[in-house]
Symmetry: C2
Subunit: 401 residues, 2 copies
């Protein structure tokens, strides 16, 4: 089917979301059925405002440099379109003779794609609609994992490797707050920074378990007594004993998806430091860092496998679009696991990814609820690439004179 292609990016950026974008663009160029390749600035907002760019005017050099650059090159948005918005998007598609619509984002983007697709089908307008998955939270259904997650996990793992050495240098309690909203995948990746039993993170708190501040302080105290220090990973979405995110008390902002603000503030870490200080013996140094937006945009922690897979889902989307009357969300499956890790793509229905998110598996959480299991390590390790090695002195003590 001859026509134009339109692609947009949505939601929180990742380090590799531009690989998916450029994957779509470069693959689309190979197919004569596709005439113009348009990019929507700021996702659905830009579509409704007809702010479109022409990819044919971008040099190949620029496109490939953009591919390896973190964050959404087209601009992103946090807008969840209403049914009326989706009608408008469909009208724009007709107006610009769009026959291939690609939307790269999380589960809300899959839902948008699904609604636009339904409207097109009801109107007998031939429109191939594809959702390209991305999220550092890794909480999309069906796919084994989400492009963007592994690079964020790599940044988190490397941060904990470094922070563990820093904490060993100047012992105390250190709490690092990790992104991931209400899913524990990214915080759990802190465990990859642990290179021996002595090394941290010594404790990991996920949003899937309610946090009792007293139990938290007791855990920290026990680790401190054992190791003379304690490095802790806490999810930004961690909930108190009442089941509400602790950050709810600090957030007076919600986006159009109804999400409260979790990132872009140090409030959770500072709160936990104060609560710990009340409960720990005096004189213990307690510090916090919120790893922040670097987790999704630092240009020095991209996982090669993540970059490759993000590109792959973009390219595959276009090939699926060429293969017939298909719509869907492009998903990843493992073909080989462990050291020989290999993956492939498949197409899943838009509805299967829309609306709901994937839970962090129960079998990935330890019995105490303050760490992860080997099953999780086996799941995530092949995705993030080789980590730097940390050197630790054996420290043979000289006999005192």
């Amino acid at each position: 089917m001859a026509g134009n292609l339109l692609i947009g990016q949505s939601g929180g950026p990742t380090m590799v979301i531009n690989q998916s974008l450029i994957g779509v663009v470069q693959e689309a160029k190979k197919h004569p059925e596709i005439d113009k390749i348009y990019g929507a600035l700021n996702g659905v907002v830009g579509i409704m405002e007809e702010r479109l760019i022409d990819f044919s005017k971008e040099s190949n050099e620029t496109l490939e440099l953009v591919a390896s650059t973190p964050s959404a090159a087209l601009g992103s948005c946090r807008h969840k379109p209403t049914k009326e918005d989706c009608m408008k998007i469909f009208d724009i598609c007709k107006k610009y003779d769009i026959r291939y619509f690609f939307y790269c984002g999380g589960n809300d983007s899959a839902e948008t794609a699904h609604i636009v697709n339904s409207i097109a089908r009801e109107s007998n307008y031939e429109l191939r609609v594809f959702h390209i998955p991305k999220t550092v939270d890794n909480d999309l259904k069906v796919t084994d994992h989400c492009p963007g997650y592994a690079s964020a996990a790599r940044f988190v793992a490397m941060s904990f490797m470094g922070n563990d050495r820093d904490n060993a240098s100047l012992p105390g309690v250190k709490i690092d707050i990790v992104m991931g909203r209400h899913a524990g995948f990214l915080t759990a990746a802190a465990a990859l920074g642990k290179t021996s039993d002595e090394c941290g993170p010594h404790l990991i708190y996920l949003p899937e378990r309610h946090l009792s501040l007293d139990k938290f302080a007791a855990d920290v105290k026990a680790a401190y007594d054992k190791y003379g220090r304690c490095l802790v990973a806490v999810s930004e979405g961690v909930c108190g004993e009442n089941g509400d995110p602790i950050m709810k008390a600090y957030s007076n902002e919600t986006d159009s998806h109804g999400n409260i603000q979790l990132s872009g503030t140090g409030a959770l870490g500072d709160f936990l430091v104060e609560e710990l200080k009340k409960r720990l013996p005096e004189g213990i140094r307690v510090r916090t860092d919120t790893l922040g937006y670097n987790q999704r945009c630092f240009p020095g922690a991209i996982s090669e496998i993540d970059a490759k897979e993000a590109r792959m889902v973009g390219e595959a989307g276009v090939r699926f679009a060429m293969a017939g009357d298909l719509d869907g969300s492009v998903a990843i499956k493992r073909v080989k696991d462990g050291d020989d890790y290999q993956s492939d793509v498949f197409l899943t229905e838009l509805q299967s990814v829309a609306k709901y998110t994937k839970d962090f598996p129960e079998e990935f959480i330890n019995a105490e609820g303050n760490g992860v299991t080997q099953a999780f390590i086996d799941y995530v390790k092949p995705l993030i690439g080789t980590l730097p090695k940390m050197g630790i002195l054996e420290k043979n003590m000289v006999e005192k004179k």
Copy 2:
């Protein structure tokens, strides 16, 4: 002179302080005059407690892996020794037949080295005392720059490159808090993350200029009006109009050097966000990150030149110690600048580095007091190595239909 060597590490760790440590150890092994090579755990604290390790029992593989690992492998301390402490350190030196004492740290460490050296000279005990410089703050006197600074600057520059792309994806105001205590060197390095006029950081606030919250808000508003967004770098040590660090209000901890706690909390960023929100038009998204301890320990941002120079000052210290009746602090000078950058070492008196710190040069600050000059860029650029390239789409707009 035959005898043993003792080395300790002090103060806030850096990404390359272990290069200096291993530089001393590996060079010392080459000299038969040096018998045992001891390491003090946790700096002067470990010396006074006789917690020493024997480097001969560490494998070469471990030593070289430690060299490339961030943070102080021997452990560090924040203790500023009294005159009595220095007497005790001297006694330990005599007891263990230490003839070569190396102390790696900032200006307080140089002062410790100077006092121990004076005591030894007064006692006619032959002791070669060397200070090996390190600090991410880059505020030591005499030396052109300090080992540890360039890697921290590299992390800061890369963070701003990524955060600029993130801020362009989801426009708003973003404030990133940077380390450096009361010197602007590290915060200024954010400017290296700016890849074009459109790109951020759009504003940089150093501790050398007092911050008026109204002027700050007006600057941010002007940048936001011009670019549709605004990325800001603020030093953790930034002072209010009364000349006191803003963080003073949030700190109830001081170390034995009398320094207030600046790092390990998100309080400054959160304060600035609230103050900005009061002064900016409603509806502008304002977020903050505190770049945190990753600036001194992230294992993926080490500057090759920094690593090489940190090793060089350690090795050179041992060679100076072998050359005669010398003591001092090892300093760096530029031999060639710009793209052909080359450096060399020289020895300076311990007193010349002790007690006082170097000010950030006035000619590095722009007239408005909210940015840096080309002179600063020329100073820092050769030190941090090649930065990743950021790809930005040209965005040729499609004519609206």
